[in-house]
Amino acid sequence: MKELRLMKGNEALAEAAIRAGADAYFGYPITPQSEVIEYLMRENPAKRTGMQVLQAESEVAAINMVYGAAACGKRAMTSSSSPGISLKMEGLSYIAGAELPCVVVNVVRGGPGLGTIQPSQSDYFQAVKGGGHGDYKLIVLAPATVQESVDFVKLGFELAFKYRNPVMILSDGIIGQMMEKVELFEQMERSSEEYEWATVGKKEGRDSVIVTSLQLQSEEQEKVNLRLQAKYREVEKNEVRFETYECEDAEYLFIAFGSCARITRKAMEMARAKGIKAGLFRPQTLYPYPYDEVNRLASQVKGILSVEMNAGQMVEDVRLAVSGKVPVKHFGRFGGMIPSPDEILEALEQKIIGG
């Protein structure tokens, strides 16, 4: 039964994991996402669904526990925040290389280094351009609400298993810590499906299953890379998700994702109130990025402002999409600072309209 609740973003992620029929969660505390594992430990899903929850000795161990469980064909999840996600990058590269499904949440905080515990979007590059070693991609979902945090856990597992690929939910300290009304989907049953690629114990009459990301022969490794690339092209074709606000007649376009898109929407409304025909484009998938849609909108507007809580990362993808058709500028606050609608509107007026 669907259920309405007032929930904190991080707790909603945890509840969604239980409801999505996750088999296991392995995590390690880090601000601002510790509520995920705290909620799971409190909720004791072993009793509700049989889901296993374990506090690992490190983020490194946690992602490798995810690897082990995922390679058994189970729905495994971990979460962390920026410094911890850096530690998980080794494991993520192996998971992508071995083509295993899992969901990884990054409740982003400001960096580099230990940085700050305040919200940021400065892990965009790490999430969408790789992060770990080798040619691989994470499917990256960027929730802007607590509701989307919940929905993207469910969608994340679906996509992870559809493509046998790690999925990252790129949340941030705002979405993780804020409370909102959320509609929870019904409890899903944990799957008992045995996948032919999973290590479940060698069955009579079949070869043993080997889960590995190692190919010592370059010819074989190139085949792996080609297979991965073919898969990524499929993902790019099928899984682009975005929302538009007031774009139909827009002359100026804001592009923003996650929590920053909520603030930018306010700036867009203020612009409209001033008679500036502004629209907002919000990618929900950061990989695959909605290049085509942004390109189409670029033909209609006079300029684009990419608003981010970082020093200018997504703006590079916007420029790729726009391909020089119109001016593209970046406006950002960072280090844990959150831009105000006023300064976003001011940036539009100065950098784009007056620029």
């Binding site: 390679a71 060698k202 043993s208």
Partner: protein
């Protein structure tokens, strides 16, 4: 009776177990890895658990162990095998789960994963091959390299004042409440191979009891890394490795 007549199925007393594949092992001549693989495979065979076993291979010489065991296997990142095995065992508690790791993997880069899996008492078997050297990368110093022992990164012998001391991680994990059975064995002579196999078999049987981690160290040779013939390396191992890493049970289940 002619000798030929002895070679017949009813007289068969020893053959390669079916739990090992027919792939030719890539290990150097005389390397203990092959024997250690074989007795682990034989133990799985004799317990009839081939279909219920999931193994985890390390990074190091035995990185390709999954080619030789005819059981479902996963390849872990360097040192992470105990974490990977934890993930497997937590979602497949009814399966027999083992890791097979060398000294660099288990006692250097993977020390945290090893100690914490043992400390949690994960119901897994850890097979630890200790030959005091990094074989795959070409004979560099390992966490278990003996004082004074030469390697390509301790070319004048391990100087413990600057390079640190060899780590007796097996004694260390035996101190943890999570371990159930901890033993140190070798596989260089027939009697010791038989003992090591009994230890591995016992460890797998204990896994059913859910009493904690079983940890079987096998002190082994590295003819190539030690720059010796296989026979010389086994002798050197007896004279130098065994005094520092004495064989025998370190922690046995309480009766």
């Amino acid at each position: 009776m002619s000798e030929k007549s002895i070679i017949s199925p009813e007289n068969l007393v020893y053959e390669k177990t079916g739990v090992m594949t027919d792939k030719v092992l890539h290990y150097c001549p005389g390397c203990g890895h092959g024997t250690a693989h074989r007795i682990l495979a034989e133990a799985i065979d004799e317990l009839g658990i081939q279909g219920d076993t999931i193994g985890v291979a390390p990074v190091g010489c035995s990185v390709l162990a999954y080619y030789y065991f005819d059981v479902d296997m996963q390849e872990a990142a360097h040192g992470r095998a105990p974490a990977v095995a934890t993930g497997i065992k937590r979602v497949m508690p009814e399966k027999y789960v083992f890791t097979y790791q060398g000294d660099g993997d288990l006692a250097a880069i993977g020390t945290a994963e090893t100690i914490h899996a043992c400390n949690r008492g994960e119901n897994i078997l850890v097979v630890f091959i200790n030959n005091g050297i990094y074989g795959m990368t070409g004979g560099q110093m390992a966490p278990t390299t003996l004082p004074g022992m030469k390697s390509s990164t301790s070319p004048f012998g391990r100087d413990v004042s600057t390079m640190g001391n060899p780590l007796k991680i097996t004694e260390l994990v035996a101190q943890l409440p999570g371990t159930y059975f901890v033993t140190r064995q070798s596989v260089h002579v027939p009697a010791n191979v038989r003992k090591a196999k009994r230890a591995i078999k016992k460890a797998l049987e204990y896994q059913k009891l859910n009493r904690g981690t079983c940890f079987v160290e096998i002190v082994s040779n590295c003819p190539y890394g030690w720059k010796m013939t296989p026979v010389e390396s086994n002798k050197w191992m007896e004279e130098n490795m065994f005094p520092f890493y004495p064989l025998g049970d370190i922690k046995v289940p309480e009766k």
